[in-house]
Symmetry: C2
Subunit: 258 residues, 2 copies
Amino acid sequence: MIVEIISTGNELLMGEVTNTNSTWLARILTDLGFEVRRITIVGDDLLEIASSIKEALVRGASVIILTGGLGPTPDDLTARALSLALNRRLELNEEALSMVARECGKRGVELNQWRRKMAYMPKGSRPLPNPLGMAPAIMIETDGRFLFALPGVPKEAYAIFKGSVLPILRKLSAKIGLKVRKSRYLIAGIREADIAPLLLELRKQVPELYVKTRVTARGIELLIQWRSSKVTSDVEYMVKDLLEKLKQKGVLIKELYQ
Amino acid sequence: MIVEIISTGNELLMGEVTNTNSTWLARILTDLGFEVRRITIVGDDLLEIASSIKEALVRGASVIILTGGLGPTPDDLTARALSLALNRRLELNEEALSMVARECGKRGVELNQWRRKMAYMPKGSRPLPNPLGMAPAIMIETDGRFLFALPGVPKEAYAIFKGSVLPILRKLSAKIGLKVRKSRYLIAGIREADIAPLLLELRKQVPELYVKTRVTARGIELLIQWRSSKVTSDVEYMVKDLLEKLKQKGVLIKELYQ
């Protein structure tokens, strides 16, 4: 099941901020068995955001997660971009409005037009409560596909994701029976270029297996992962076999746990 | 002048690694006066990388900077993807081969087929020396557009960027006469939603001005930036006027220097 992440915000395109939201999103989604196929950053531009959503739909993404652009300022354009991309009318969502009004009350601020703006969502949206901020997140289900728009502020995005999005994705993952296994090893005594033929061989035998080496500060890391509707004992055997072959070549292997 | 950054690597899509290369790239490019319009992350997949390059060209990017996928392993596919996207033959680049051979000599490792692979580049490529690693970077100039492919390892990418790419981009920026001014302020005593109408007004008057507020750990940051062939005194005046208006509303403003 293919997922795309779209992060919006000129500050990301100007290098003012690093896109850390997409990192934890991608990690959790991968661990749930989803395949994150693409991550896109676009600016606070209505047409750029709308076209990036449309492109992700055309590429076949079943889940699209957006971050950023839900706030009160005029350059917060995600709700409008979703409307445009999905051809759904932008309307005042009563449930969202009461969420925003409640937050205004808590903070003792006026529910002015800018704050009301955060309650405008595409027709048929489900607002998701924001436990740490004012702007509710947006969920839209359309033709069996799920679109989620989260705020850009990382702690708000994470709180909403954990509280409202993750339970939905967990159910989706369980329904499809996605399974994922990930093992990570630190290896020493072999160069990246010398391990390449072995990995190529393994990948030819088991195409669903993702095997990758990466040079890190602590040495070469070997990541082995597979995602499928069933994790067969065949695959387990292949992995054991690879590790055995490496050991026979004098390679030191240490399993890493996170 | 529009720039797009394309970062490749399954580890980015799996959330194993945060895409920090695109942050410093975007920041330096923005400061040079370029407009980073989009940042895309795709996996180690030939067609995905090739199509992301083609899409960036179609969208009108004058400069495309890729990171990742230049190494010796079979999933390092950037050179092949560039060939495919630009419809240029992949060939052994003699200059690149001597760079790789020199590095093999230094390290006392064999120049095997996997390491030779790093010298295969699209016809007409200019290899850029890698002072910290084995894989040369790739530069291709085509129809007045510039494509650069840098390694994924951040310190290597940065060393090559600084040594070989930055001088070219500086000349390009100077030739076109791009100018950029950036001021950053910390403001207090106003809420984001209350500053919005003022910023909207300013943006209507001076569309080339980029003004944005962002809630950070230390308070609300106000970023004012413009990029144009000339920085007029009009714009300077408008900014002063905005700051004056804010002060009159009792807002505390502190200029931030980095």
